[in-house]
Amino acid sequence: MGEVSGLAIDDNESMRLSLHKVVVSIAILGVAAAIAGLGTFATFTSTTSATHTIASGTLTLTAPFSRLGTGASPIAAGDTMQRAIDLSYSGSISFSAVTLTTSASPSSLLDTDTTDGLHIVIDKCSVAWTESGPPYTYTCGGSTSSVLASSAIIGSNVALSNLTLTAGSLDHLRATITFPSTAGNTLQNQSSTLTYAFTGTQRAGQSQ
């Protein structure tokens, strides 16, 4: 608490007075700067300029060919289903990774039983798979590599390996969906509709 002219005032009053001083000071400085600036532009000027364009690229993942929309019914324990899908990296920017998220709607024990329900394996062929069927089966005329080891059919953001990922390239994938031979009678008369989402992310930033 302060003391002015014999009257007691509190700290807020002091703060108000100080702020008034600050505001007035800034106003004075602003006006002075403006006048100075006017004085500056009142002299001769000369300008040089350069322009350049910076354009962002595109990152585009598509599936120009896919058999993943082909289901199977009725399946029994021990059955396997092969489905091919091509992933195209058709934008101008390469990818750093692609993940797979699978979902089921409607759902059943075929996708919720992670032991005896459906499992998926994904392989890549260096050239296009040779398809026969239906029922579809595929052979690879080039070399194969593993993209996803055996996993329960439902997964979220599952990392995929050995993909090309380069802008303008194509990966030829084959998904093998297995209904384990260990599946018991509780998995009879079940039905699941599966959707597969492949999500690619761009390469890391770099000097350009």
């Binding site: 807020n12 702020l19 990152l59 599936a63 009879q188 761009q202």
Partner: protein
């Protein structure tokens, strides 16, 4: 002179909100920067996968209907005593006048159904009467999983029996088994009947079976093992041709001749309950037999029928399926290539012709079993 405190230039509430807003803005900016970057997605599917309604598998069914004309005369009804409402009765030992936890009869049922199929309206049918006029027989029962002896249901009690019969007239008492919810339980079912008899005498039983339905039709399940502990001391009687190696074999009612004859046979009828629409991929019959008198040689061949329609012949009078002169049972398994129709399978009768080297001798049959591998899409 006092003065009112002046209003704050910036209220504390406003300051707090300002701080919160600042922190939120900073966080949003940081997180946005962290997740920034291009991404793209491609999708596959949807694809629908549906499993078979019934998986492929071999289901076995014994014959509960047996008509015996081995002697060359009229057929003898040699059906399983407890599987049908007929004149064949099974008499228990002497009961006590009060219920006792150690006095009961027990039935294990066959397991011919594909497992994992929902069951509705499972019902235990028990047909019985008191042994003597003026007596009253009462019962209640428990339901178990046979494989684990786990109690899964109780119906009635010592104080409130399921039923009492004060006559000697056979009466069927039907009780719903809500605990039998699927065929996995049905295939592993045991019913234990506790009873009392007012005169401490036996009870006469005609039928102990379980009926119900699935999405694929109605069914009847028959007992294959009967344990009588009405006196407090157990005695087990298996349906003779339902289980092999159980020291319970069916002895033919009459004597076979030294040669095969059209009028000398045994007929076994099965009840496999193959669901309509099923695909039968294979079928066979197990027939285990031997002589009833040491040193004799017994031979057999058989025909398959749907009603009066001949489906196939296996072996012949000149070339039997096999012969057995040993003291042990011959275990024949004969493929039934003709059994491709569900209707034929569900109405299958096999007619077995036999002969004995000495003649005027009987045979023993340990097992008559139908094996059908089928599935339903």
């Amino acid at each position: 002179m006092s003065r009112q405190p002046p209003d704050s230039l910036v209220s504390r509430r406003a300051l707090r909100w300002a701080v919160i807003a600042g922190v939120a803005a900073a966080s949003f900016t940081t997180v946005s920067l962290a997740f920034a970057g291009f991404n793209s997605a491609a999708s596959g599917g949807p694809g629908t996968y549906a499993s078979k309604r019934i998986f492929p598998g071999i289901r076995t069914s014994s014959a509960w209907t047996l008509r015996d004309a081995s002697g060359g005369g009229a057929e003898t009804n040699a059906d399983d005593t407890l599987s049908y409402t007929d004149a064949l009765l099974k008499t228990t030992g002497n009961w006590a006048t009060t219920f006792s936890s150690t006095r009961y009869v027990e039935f294990d049922f066959n397991s011919a159904r594909p497992g994992g199929v929902a069951v509705s309206s499972a019902t235990f049918a028990y047909r019985m009467a008191a042994n003597s006029a003026g007596d009253t027989a009462c019962f209640y029962f428990e339901v178990y999983r046979a494989s684990s002896s786990t109690l899964i249901g109780t119906h009635g009690s010592t104080g409130v029996p399921v039923a009492c019969n004060a006559t000697t007239t056979q009466t069927t008492y039907s009780t719903t088994l809500a605990e039998v919810t699927d065929t996995t339980i049905l295939n592993d079912l045991r019913v234990r009947v506790y009873a009392k008899e007012s005169g401490s005498r036996p009870m006469k039983q005609d039928l102990a079976s379980v009926t119900g339905s699935t999405a694929y039709g109605s069914f009847t399940t028959y007992e294959k093992i009967y344990r009588d502990q009405s006196t407090g001391t157990p005695a087990t009687t298996n349906w003779s041709v339902a289980t092999s190696g159980d020291s319970t074999a069916y002895v033919s009612a009459g004597n076979w001749a030294t040669t095969f004859a059209a009028a000398r046979y045994m007929k076994f009828t099965f009840d496999p309950h193959v669901p309509s629409g099923s695909v039968i991929t294979s079928a066979s019959v197990d027939f285990y037999y031997k002589n009833n008198t040491a040193g004799d040689t017994v031979c057999w061949y058989f025909e398959t029928y749907n009603g009066a329609t001949l489906l196939g012949t296996h072996g012949s009078s000149g070339s039997p399926v096999s012969c057995n002169s040993t003291a042990g049972f011959t275990t024949d398994n004969v493929t039934l290539a003709e059994l491709t129709s569900v209707t034929d399978a569900n109405n299958l009768t096999i007619k077995v012709y036999m002969k004995d080297s000495t003649g005027a001798r009987k045979s023993q049959t340990d097992l008559v079993q139908l094996n059908i591998n089928h599935y339903l899409d």
